[in-house]
C-alpha cells in the first residue's frame, strides 16, 4: 500500500541526493583540473559523485515500492524508452569508432552518462503524457 508520508520522505531524500550529486560532480570536475594534486586525492574526490549516485539509486528503488501501480508502470515505460536509446547511442559510437577516431575530449564516459539521464527524463515525459 502506498503511503503519502513515505513517498514524501523518499522524494525529499531523492531530491537531496540529486542536488548533492550535481554539486559533487562540479567539485570533482574542478579538482580534476588540478594536476598538481596527487592521484591519491583526486581519485577519491572523483568517486564521491558515484557513491552519492549509488545512494540515489537505492532511494529510488525504495520509493518505487511505495508508489502506486500506475506510477510503477510509468517508471517501467520510461526505462523501456531510455534503455534502448542508451543502447542505440552506444551502438552508434561503437560503429563510428570502427571507422574514425572519436576525440576523447568529446566522447569519453563523462560525456555519455548525461545522455542516459536525458533519455530517462524523455522517457518519463512520454510515459506521463500517455496517462494524463
Amino acid at each position: 500500500m502506498r503511503t503519502v508520508a513515505g513517498q514524501n520522505r523518499g522524494g525529499k531524500s531523492l531530491v537531496l541526493a540529486a542536488i548533492l550529486f550535481v554539486l559533487t560532480v562540479f567539485v570533482s570536475m574542478a579538482v580534476g583540473e588540478m594536476p598538481q594534486l596527487p592521484a591519491t586525492v583526486r581519485v577519491p574526490i572523483a568517486l564521491i559523485p558515484a557513491l552519492i549516485f549509488a545512494y540515489f539509486i537505492y532511494q529510488r528503488r525504495r520509493l518505487l515500492h511505495t508508489e502506486d501501480e500506475l506510477e510503477q508502470r510509468i517508471q517501467l515505460e520510461a526505462l523501456s524508452i531510455a534503455y534502448p536509446l542508451t543502447f542505440l547511442l552506444l551502438v552508434i559510437l561503437g560503429q563510428l569508432e570502427r571507422v574514425i577516431t572519436l576525440k576523447p575530449e568529446d566522447w569519453d564516459y563523462g560525456h555519455i552518462w548525461p545522455f542516459v539521464f536525458i533519455f530517462y527524463i524523455v522517457g518519463l515525459m512520454i510515459a506521463r503524457k500517455r496517462y494524463q
Partner: protein, 71 residues
C-alpha cells in the same frame, strides 16, 4: 476495457481524490482509469468492486461486451 468508475463515483458523491485515498492510489491513477487510458490490476479492480459493493464484471467490461445482467 470499459468501466463505470466515473458513474459509480458520482453516485457515491466522491471526488477523484476521495476515491484515490480510499483505494490507496494516486488521483492520476483514478483519472487514467476513468478515461480508459489505463487498465487497473486485478487487485485494484477487486478493491474497486469491494468499495462499491458490486461484482467486478458490472464495473469493468471488455471492449464490445455489455455489463452484467444485474446492471
Amino acid at each position: 476495457m470499459k468501466n463505470r468508475l466515473k458513474v459509480l463515483r458520482a453516485e457515491h458523491n466522491l471526488s477523484q481524490a476521495d476515491l484515490a485515498g480510499r483505494l490507496g492510489v494516486s488521483r492520476q491513477t483514478i483519472n487514467a482509469i476513468e478515461t480508459e487510458k489505463y487498465e487497473p490490476s486485478l487487485t485494484l479492480a477487486f478493491k474497486v468492486a469491494k468499495l462499491f459493493e458490486q461484482p467486478i464484471e458490472q464495473i469493468f467490461t471488455p471492449n464490445g461486451d455489455k455489463p452484467g445482467p444485474n446492471t
